[in-house]
């Protein structure tokens, strides 16, 4: 449209328009001032994205008294586990109808079950079966492995076995961890700890194989709690006895299962050869993980004195290294035909 070049301007609608704009501008100024006042230094530098640590204690100890340790000999893990549990009062002593159970396995490495570097699928699956039979509402199996998590659960056979038994596998992701602190701890302070699979959980079972471990001396049920740590957790190898004993205080399980059907005598904790394994034909069920590991040390030809974290854990109230004082129930599992 060609604009006019002469003649008076049209009658001014401009006064009303000007007032409208003035009001609009006034509102804009007010909004600017209000937003500015509200936002001013709301989150000072260095405070953004920092999440406050929560209590990292995981306390699921069993109620009531009873035998705390059974040492079962045999070959077939499922039978040994059932026998061992029966000796300490049966699964019903620990798992009630409606319980939500979390099983912490050792799935650290993506290696086959035959190499015994990880929890045997039979043990994981039998625990799931027993818990469900005892009326557990749900059974979750988890670990924060060293190798690629998906590969670990599949190649160890734990994943397929757990699913077949009706359990649920929880593969941790970055957001499964939350900063946690254990009161009185030197090391576990504001540290990412596996968090989300614990939501609603009422019982915690730990299970691990007996393994030689170059840094810690041995890796059994207490060292197994390392898998509850996230972040750059390997820096704790600078103080391995400190971290394992503090983990022992952080976690109070309902019971633990230490699988010494075979023990990794050397080249641990990864192993990699059948030559690293020895048939030690023993399985331990215990409500005291310190006692379980103290006994497990004997399967490796060691005593609890070779594993300083055991005495340190005992000093922190996590259990006793004197497993005989618990009057362990010793029995042999019936061999399958």
């Amino acid at each position: 449209m060609k604009p006019e070049t002469s003649g008076p301007d049209p009658a001014p609608p401009s006064r009303r328009e000007f007032l409208r704009r003035a009001v609009q501008a006034g509102a804009g100024v007010a909004v600017t001032a209000a937003l500015g006042a509200w936002l001013l230094d709301r989150r000072p530098p260095g405070t953004i994205g920092r999440i406050a640590a929560v209590d990292a204690r995981r306390s699921f100890g069993p109620k009531g008294a009873g035998p705390t340790l059974s040492i079962i000999t045999g070959r077939a893990r499922r039978q040994m586990l059932r026998r061992g549990l029966a000796a300490v009062g049966g699964i019903e002593r620990f798992i009630a109808r409606g319980d939500r159970v979390l099983i912490k396995v050792n799935a650290a490495f993506a290696s086959p079950a035959a190499l015994a570097a990880t929890t045997h699928p039979d043990v994981a699956a039998e625990l799931v079966t027993l818990c469900l039979a005892a009326g557990a509402a749900s059974v979750i199996v988890t670990d924060n492995p060293i190798n690629d998590p998906e590969s670990c659960f599949e190649l160890t056979g734990i994943g397929p076995a757990v699913r077949a038994a009706g359990g649920r596998l929880f593969v941790p992701r970055a957001d499964s961890f939350h900063p946690g602190t254990v009161e009185g701890s030197r090391l576990i302070r504001d540290w990412p700890v596996l968090h989300s699979p614990f939501a609603g959980v009422t019982k915690l079972i730990g299970t691990a194989p007996v393994k030689h471990h170059h840094r810690a001396g041995a890796s059994m049920t207490l060292k197994n709690w390392y898998g509850l740590l996230g972040g750059r957790r390997n820096q704790f190898h600078q103080d391995i006895d400190g971290i394992v004993s503090e983990l022992a205080r952080m976690v109070t399980p309902t019971f633990v299962v230490l699988d010494g059907a075979q023990s990794m005598m050397s080249n641990g904790p990864t192993g990699g050869s059948l030559a690293d394994l020895k048939e030690t034909r023993t399985l331990v069920v215990s409500t005291d993980p310190v006692a379980a590991d103290a006994y497990g040390a004997t399967l490796l030809g060691k005593t609890h004195r070779d594993l300083p974290y055991l005495a340190a854990a005992a000093a922190l109230g996590a259990g006793t290294v004197d497993f005989e004082s618990l009057r362990p129930v010793r029995a042999a599992a019936e061999e399958e035909g």
């Binding site: 604009p3 501008a25 600017t32 500015g36 530098p45 030197r186 820096q235 704790f236």
Partner: protein, 521 residues
């Protein structure tokens, strides 16, 4: 006094003030050096800095409240900032004036016609702001990229790192030059390129690129006051375009968003008073919309949405964090750092040792031109008793530390010192470790007490078989603060035999190699 004279005085004043504040941003004993001058002021006036950091951090860093003043003025009066205050704008205006001097008026008038591509800047702004506004829950904190093209950080960076040093005004020690800046060729080329482009199209940057101009245009498009053109007196001669800075078509209908309020049209109009200033709307018609098409807007939003995951994809603020990037003392953790840093170069200008350098392209676009330590360039690493960079930082990417806080003493006792990183001895290059020659310059110059570098005694043999007493340096990570003095002093002149990486830096607990209780000592 004519209004354009007033404008020129304002432009000259603000430009000289800007240059002065760049010049004085240096720690030293010279009379002109930083003595409470508001060296951050132009950056703090910049609404794009304020809006960008508010979008990424949901917080307004206190100094940036100045930008609220700019916003208010813009809402009431339009783009006064562009035409009267912006130092980059003044440079463009001067270059454009030189460029069109002596050209035929017809060509000049044509070069100042509104061009539809001027809408491009709104797309650039939208992409930047969308990228900054992506909620942290989706991707983590957004990185802030506005500083790449925001004119105030751009001109500040260019002056701090290129213009002043090239002019021999670069030194912290006086008018003697002597500063080095990595990346200066690229930074200088961008600056010079935009300035020279004024010879092709006046104010090309302002009209087509400037995201701050776009933001101010949107804020000011409904300003109650502005340029008014009275149609009845206008002969449509086009003379008002002769010196029009914004290419806003003053004869009408005026492109309100493009008007920089340079007021040149008043002067150039040969008729009496057809163009004036007053309550709007202009009688000759107004176009208040920036004119960005829906398609253009959607494309910008999509581009902005893609920027965040794209710039985080390298993992450089996560598992793949770059231990080669040693950040200045008080720098917040990398994700928040990249949500705040606008790459203005203030910290690098003010750093008394010149150790702070702009990160280059090889370290990734997402960290381009952010401050890192280069102990080979600096005169002596990061000085123990200096916290200047945090006070030069306009956005809180570097916190303002007290010396007590930096060194973990006094009121900050028990919190541990600020660690920039960790020195590590390269035993294959170290004279006493690898070559049987005494040295330990690193141990001598370590400023920490007790020293973070200790020595192991050893017996070596010289090539002619004489026994030599060797002291071999060992670093204690619980004491080392990563200041880099050792790396600077190491006699292995090329690739140093002791080098600092960001490992163990205290700004991110996940980068610590110390156990918790050691960290607090």
């Amino acid at each position: 006094m004519r209004i354009t004279t007033a404008r020129r005085i304002a432009q000259a004043f603000f430009f000289l003030l800007f240059a002065w504040l760049c010049l004085v941003a240096a720690v030293g004993t010279g009379w002109f050096q930083w003595r409470g001058w508001p060296i951050r002021w132009f950056l703090e006036l910049d609404p794009l800095v304020a809006v960008g950091t508010v979008l990424t951090t949901h917080s307004l860093y206190p100094g940036l409240a100045w930008a609220l003043g700019t916003i208010v003025v813009t809402i009431l009066l339009g783009r006064v900032f562009c035409g009267w205050i912006c130092p980059f704008g003044t440079i463009h205006q001067a270059a454009g004036w030189i460029g069109r001097h002596g050209r035929r008026p017809k060509l000049v008038i044509d070069s100042n016609q509104y061009h539809p591509l001027q809408r491009l800047k709104y797309g650039i702004l939208a992409a930047f702001l969308v990228a900054a506004a992506v909620p942290p829950k989706l991707t983590g904190l957004a990185h802030l990229h506005t500083g790449l093209l925001d004119p105030i950080p751009l001109v500040q960076r260019s002056f701090n790192l290129v213009v002043l040093p090239v002019a021999g005004l670069g030194s912290g020690g006086g008018f003697s030059g002597g500063r080095f800046y990595a990346e200066s060729v690229v930074i200088g080329t961008v600056f010079l390129g935009f300035v020279l482009l004024n010879f092709a199209v006046p104010r090309l940057f302002c009209r087509f690129v400037c995201p701050l101009g776009a933001l101010l245009a949107i804020l000011g498009r409904a300003a109650p006051f502005g340029i008014k053109t009275r149609k009845h007196a206008c002969t449509e001669c086009g003379a008002c375009n002769l010196n029009c800075e914004g290419a806003c078509n003053p004869k009408g209908p005026i492109q309100v968003s493009e008007c920089l309020l340079c007021m040149n049209c008043f002067e150039d109009c040969p008729t009496s008073h057809p163009i004036g200033y007053g309550p709007r709307p202009s009688l000759a018609g107004e176009i208040t919309s920036p004119g960005l098409s829906r398609r253009g807007f959607v494309a910008s939003v999509v581009a902005g949405l893609a920027v965040v995951p794209l710039s985080r994809l390298s993992g450089s603020d996560a598992n793949n964090w770059q231990a080669g990037l040693v950040r200045p003392p008080g720098a917040v953790a990398e994700d928040e750092f990249l949500a705040r840093c606008i790459k203005c170069g203030e910290c690098m200008r003010v750093c008394p040792t010149n150790v702070l350098q702009p990160a280059g392209f090889s370290t990734g676009m997402e960290v381009l031109w952010t401050p890192v330590l280069n102990n080979r360039i600096g005169t002596s690493g990061c000085q123990m008793d200096c916290v200047a960079c945090g006070y030069a930082c306009p956005t809180g990417a570097i916190r303002r530390l007290t010396l007590d806080e930096k060194l973990g003493r006094g009121e900050s006792r028990g919190a541990g010192p600020i660690r920039l990183g960790l020195a590590a001895v390269d035993r294959g290059r170290c004279l006493p470790w690898a070559m049987g020659r005494p040295c330990i310059v690193c141990e001598e110059t370590c400023p920490v007490s007790p020293k973070a570098i200790t020595v192991e005694e050893a017996q070596g043999l010289s090539p002619d078989g004489v026994a030599v007493r060797l002291q071999r340096p060992v670093v204690d990570p619980s004491r080392c603060i990563g200041c880099g003095v050792c790396e600077h002093e190491c006699p292995m002149n090329g690739i140093r035999a002791i080098r600092v990486s960001a490992d163990n830096e205290s700004r991110d607990p996940a980068h610590s190699i110390l156990l918790h209780h050691e960290n607090k000592s």
